[in-house]
Symmetry: C2
Subunit: 276 residues, 2 copies
């Protein structure tokens, strides 16, 4: 990634990792992308909580988590505004060949700091989505986690780019909508805000959680539920979210157009005003 | 991986890779595990063909493939017998942040040589499988490829180990059997050998291809088809395959026992006798 301001592997400044890392060999690890505004990492508690939950579910020893907050504070002390902090954690170097971990691996953390960029003004008018060809796996054991095995997402974002779209909607094997390839998705209809459950597939996005938490403060009813593609398409308003892009209205999914973006604008404004 | 005899990154002997590699960040790459017998890589044409096909499907530039055979010849020249050569190819260092590749990445190849080991004599009596809880994604775009996003397999092999089993059977979202977490699977019944199709999920294993090719020479009819768990369980004989373990009879899947292993033995003996 051309342009990193710094990379720290297990606390040491370097640009290399051991070639036997299980993150590289098997996508065996987790990551968080944290937005840093005025040298303050936004939603850091939520990021660290998701990382801790991921470690517990993958069976990665979480001892390193205790010192992570101090390490992050030191790294962001000189960060430009805005900046992006990527926290990548792997199960560590393999202690034998093969998929199955031996259980004695020492987790490795790779922190990197990047210059950030403000959301593009053009997004406010709404972006276009395509529906990805590939379906997401039904995998309750991995669902919700931001793990490193993301080739499905890579291929879906490639599909979106080739179609000139901003992101690709990803469906579960059942046909239900789960998320964008790099975002979560919300639909507004009949006076309620709905976002797909992420307990069978998908990522429990940090901004998604923040919106579910903050919606009542704006007088909005927000629900996690199953959402078919037809339900999404017949909604009054659709928007996508992640911590980097914020709340971005969707103007079009395939041939279906969404003229409204009032709810997205209200939420974007509210989120932008939150501390940290 | 404790015990590597050597690691070569883009031809240079080293033990490190750049921390911005997309293989590490997104599981964006491919690998091959090649068995080296008496300094000859077995089934090398088939491995290189699968790797080339994977590069084409992922949109990874395949120029490096032309020189790979020479590089491998040099590496295995001093290999112990048996040895294992791992060929790992990633899309290369990220040229921007985010899932979508920019298209100008330079692929990175990471070759490593390991001491091999003979298959365990105890496997000849048959091994036990469990059925993994997680289902495999329906993903025709990635199906068949041996890509780096293997956390599903990591978690399934972990499940197998915790149950004291040798491997875990993985099912497709539809409920059909696809493979073991680290192997392909064959079922013998009504005079025919069946192995699940791998065009929606799973890996097109090299030994699987060799068996499909060689079966007629032994007078066996071998088919790729859809295979339900019930069909597998009611087969006369079940075995699993990969280039490292060879052809290994399955004694038990959950509560279902398979007393026969004659077909597995015939195939194992035939495969062992092939050149290279």
């Amino acid at each position: 990634m051309t342009g990193a301001l710094g990379i720290w592997v297990d606390g040491a400044r370097t640009s290399q990792v051991p070639a036997d890392d299980r993150g590289l060999h098997y996508g065996d690890g987790l990551f968080e992308t944290v937005i840093v505004r005025r040298r303050v990492p936004r939603f850091l508690d939520a990021h660290l909580a998701r990382l801790a939950q991921g470690c517990a579910r993958l069976g990665i020893a979480g001892d390193f988590l205790a010192g992570l907050r101090d390490e992050i504070r030191d790294i962001v002390a000189d960060a430009p505004d805005p900046a992006v902090l990527k926290i990548l954690v792997t199960r560590g170097s393999a202690t034998r060949r093969g998929y199955a971990p031996l259980g004695d691996e020492r987790p490795r953390r790779i922190l990197s700091l990047w210059p950030g960029s403000a959301p593009s003004a053009s997004w406010a008018d709404g972006v276009e989505l395509v529906v990805a060809n590939a379906r997401l796996a039904d995998n309750p054991g991995l669902a919700g986690l931001k793990h490193l095995s993301r080739l499905e997402n890579v291929m879906a974002t490639r599909e979106a780019e080739q179609a000139g779209a901003f992101d690709a909607l990803m469906l579960h094997a059942s046909g239900h909508v789960i998320s964008g390839a790099m975002s979560n998705v919300f639909a507004w209809s009949r006076g309620k805000l709905r976002t797909p459950r992420v307990d069978r597939a998908g990522v429990a996005g940090i901004l998604r959680s923040v919106l579910l938490r903050e919606a009542p403060a704006l007088g909005l009813v927000a629900l996690e539920c199953e959402l078919t593609l037809a339900e999404l398409i017949h909604s009054d308003e659709v928007f996508i979210t992640n911590v980097r892009i914020g709340v971005v209205p969707v103007r079009r999914v395939g041939e279906h157009r969404f003229p409204m973006n009032a709810i997205a604008q209200r939420l974007a404004s509210h989120i932008g005003g939150l501390d940290a």
